[in-house]
């Protein structure tokens, strides 16, 4: 099994099925084309997206449906093309697409999830994009109450 240098867990083995391919990279990280999903029971519903090439780059993410069970995707035609999916209809979260929101966690502030630009992974082929919406229907900083915030004394 191949080994991966990670930001939080040292070196660990991974399955090739857990590698997601981002042909366009991610905004601000345009050259990072390959991320590995690290899914640990102890930290669910959170997951990690660890860069396959940069050990110091790891995102923490959460399935969008955990934040908003009614969440509706709006993936552009260009992004559907990157995912190698047919344009014309929106793919289904769960059966066709893994949809994750990246979390921003800062000391002393409630965690926020970027629902404006979910990570969309085609479950058939592991092609992935950050599917930026342009309708501003969902916030890029949706508060995630209770996460990563110390209890008040």
């Amino acid at each position: 099994m191949p080994l991966l240098a990670t930001k939080y867990f040292g070196t660990m083995p991974y399955e090739s099925t857990d590698v997601f391919h981002f042909p366009e990279g991610l905004p601000a990280f345009d050259r990072e084309n390959s991320f590995v999903l690290i899914d640990m029971p102890a930290i669910r519903p959170l997951v990690f997206l660890q860069s396959a090439t940069r050990a110091d780059l790891c995102f923490i993410a959460i399935p969008v449906l955990v934040i908003d069970p009614e969440y509706e995707l709006s993936v552009s035609i260009e992004d559907l093309c990157s995912l190698k999916m047919a344009p014309g209809r929106q793919p289904r979260i769960g059966s066709e697409i893994l949809a994750l929101a990246l979390l921003s966690i800062q000391e002393g502030l409630p965690a926020t999830a970027n629902l404006m630009a979910p990570i969309a992974v085609n479950l058939d082929n592991r092609m992935a994009v950050q599917a930026i919406r342009c309708d501003f229907k969902y916030s890029h900083r949706r508060a995630v109450p209770g996460l990563a915030r110390e209890e008040a004394c």
Binding site: A28, L46, L98, E107, A117, G146
Partner: protein, 84 residues
Amino acid sequence: MLVLRRRAGESLLIGDQIEIEFLEVSSQAVKIGIKAPKQVSILRKELHLTQSENRAAAREVDLERLKNSLENFHISSSFPQVSR
């Protein structure tokens, strides 16, 4: 916010170096052309927001504290299968 009404083919100036021309207007979208000096960054707003959120999301996180907070975190009943 300054609000102006313009028609297709018209344009406006921002300062003396930036010109925005309204090329096509429909009920759903406008197509604009922008003339600006090379050093002026022009980005779709949602892309700019995503870049700055991604930089924030890439920061180091205290995992132990995060794990502890998960105990109190309300998990939606519709938690989906994450992979496979």
